[in-house]
């Protein structure tokens, strides 16, 4: 069933060279190292290329210099407010660098990264950005064996074994927890996603737990609830919680869960924050507009995405020594309407 695509009229470097009256070597230089081509020659080449509607075949060049101008991005999910801003800013910034984004999602299943990485390597990516620090050995080895630079994004850990750009999830967890504790809450529930293979969720939870411990509070086991990543699940679990044994505050592992929790309170006619305080983590699009506005800690997703794009391009161009590329992006806490002092 395979067909061979015709080149049709599409002109190549040969046609451009002929029209400009130069060799193909000079045409190539005019694009890649314009400073090495005499002004008038360059102009003639550019005109010829324009007239013919020439579009370079970068993949042909890749064969030679090993750069495809393509960067891989693997996220846990696309269908979720969590990474939307990150993906958008990362890919837009790459376009500014004349790079293109090859995107894939692993569906929160790290085993999926093996075939994805293979698929990306077959397309000769110049570098790759992976969300988080939890990854299997195999894909990491496949990448480093081929000298493909890796950047981990979203989570920042000082002792990370791969260069990372992101925020301190540990700190995010403790910030919101301390806020709740400072408001005098003692009966607190945690609504956190599964932490296996998810360093972001794990660090947040650890940070939250540590803040609890530091305060001397003792949180009973049943107050630590594992909750799926979607609004509907969070809403259902929270309604159950409200019916069984409502706490005075709920600390949510992210804003998506917090949104579900707030909807649950609406559904059960429990006023937020009068009867119950709710905090999220992330500050996703829409969190500030909710009623009540969600108290949360902001991950500056666009900043992280942009930085990561700059860094991965830089790494691919210069070769790299991982360590100096790690960067911590500060968090911002927003005290909006969804929490209040316990009275």
């Amino acid at each position: 069933m395979k067909r061979k695509r015709s080149r049709k009229g599409a002109p190549g470097i040969v046609e451009v060279a002929a029209r400009a009256g130069v060799s193909i070597a000079t045409v190539s230089r005019a694009f890649n190292e314009p400073e090495k081509v005499r002004g008038p020659t360059r102009v003639r080449i550019e005109e010829a290329a324009n007239d013919l509607g020439y579009i370079r075949d970068r993949m042909a060049g890749t064969l030679h210099n090993r750069f495809s101008g393509t960067i891989g991005l693997i996220v846990p999910t696309i269908d979720n407010a969590i990474f939307a801003e990150l993906i958008e800013s990362f890919s837009a910034r790459l376009l500014d660098h004349d790079r293109t984004t090859l995107i894939a999602s692993n569906g929160y299943d790290l085993a999926q990264e093996v075939p994805i990485v293979r698929s990306l390597l077959e397309r000769r990516i110049d570098g790759i950005a992976l969300v988080g620090l939890d990854h299997e050995e195999v894909p990491l080895t496949m990448l480093s064996q081929r000298d493909v630079p890796i950047i981990s994004i979203w989570n920042y850990q000082q002792d990370a074994t791969i260069p990372c750009i992101g925020s301190d999830n540990h700190q995010a967890g403790s910030i919101v927890t301390e806020h709740i504790l400072n408001l005098g809450h003692k009966d607190i529930a945690f609504l956190f996603p599964e932490t296996t293979n998810n360093d972001r969720a794990r660090n947040r939870r650890e940070g939250a737990m540590r803040a609890i411990a530091a305060s001397g509070l003792n949180l009973p086991e049943e107050r630590i609830i594992t909750c799926g990543y979607n609004i509907e699940t969070a809403k259902r679990i929270t309604r159950q919680l409200l019916n069984d044994n409502p706490p005075t505050a709920i600390i949510c592992g992210n804003d998506v869960i917090a949104r579900g929790a707030i909807y649950a309170c609406h559904a059960e006619n429990i006023p937020v924050p009068e009867k119950i305080s709710i905090v999220g983590i992330g500050d996703f699009t829409g969190s500030s507009s909710m009623e009540p506005g969600l108290t949360t800690v902001r991950f500056h997703a666009r900043k992280i995405g942009k930085l990561a794009a700059d860094v991965i391009v830089n790494m691919s161009e210069t070769g790299f020594d991982p360590s100096p590329f790690s960067q911590k992006v500060d968090l911002s806490f927003y005290d909006r309407g969804s929490t209040r002092r316990l009275n």
Copy 2:
């Protein structure tokens, strides 16, 4: 600053051939047309490839057969619930087809599509999916000149000039409007995004307007409000509206705007649906979980994404006659809690 990436230890087809004791031609066949290679030979080659950790260079093959195994996807925005499910399902399905997604967003600016398409063509995409039917001539010509198949996704129009897979936005607009009219509402406001260069929004609005006209109702000019694409803007504009001159129903161009409108009602203490009915279009993730649940018409985004992936792969493999590839995906109306009969 350019460095040359070493191949390092990464084995190529030559090494695999040597280890398997065959020619590189046979190795190539074993991957591309396995049925042409004798069983035992194939096994030896597969073992050799595995042992060496061989990863094909598809870009080298592209040079010859013109297929990169890469498909472009241009959406108006990534940072938005609107296209999240579409992107996720499209790219996941492409991965099943052993294709990879090159993603880019145009920020609702069609002029951006020229550099984006150029960038994708330089990477030798095998096909491209574009959201909507409004596009400039230039990028479309660039693509068809190079025989790159195009599929328009999200909007379906019978007389579209490019093959399209999506739902009837016209119908979506009329469905929600008729629902509101059937509930007895007469004082209705429209909250629609800018319709220039946006066929989806335009069709929805036309469908809504037609339903209004068919009912004999006369909608005053000031009831037709243009509203930005984000929750915050929608909330602000709706609050203004509620203060100035509240209608009994608001028809929103999409669920994002509807979400903002509902939050505005919460903020102004106007109960939905008791005092005001609100409908959206789209049924994005989260719309069913809101309080009240959003009455809206569902675009089956995952179905569209999956279908589009199948079709574009098919088009790239078989050559194509555009017309038979168009497909209309039915809408589903959900009457949830945000609307009620006027009394």
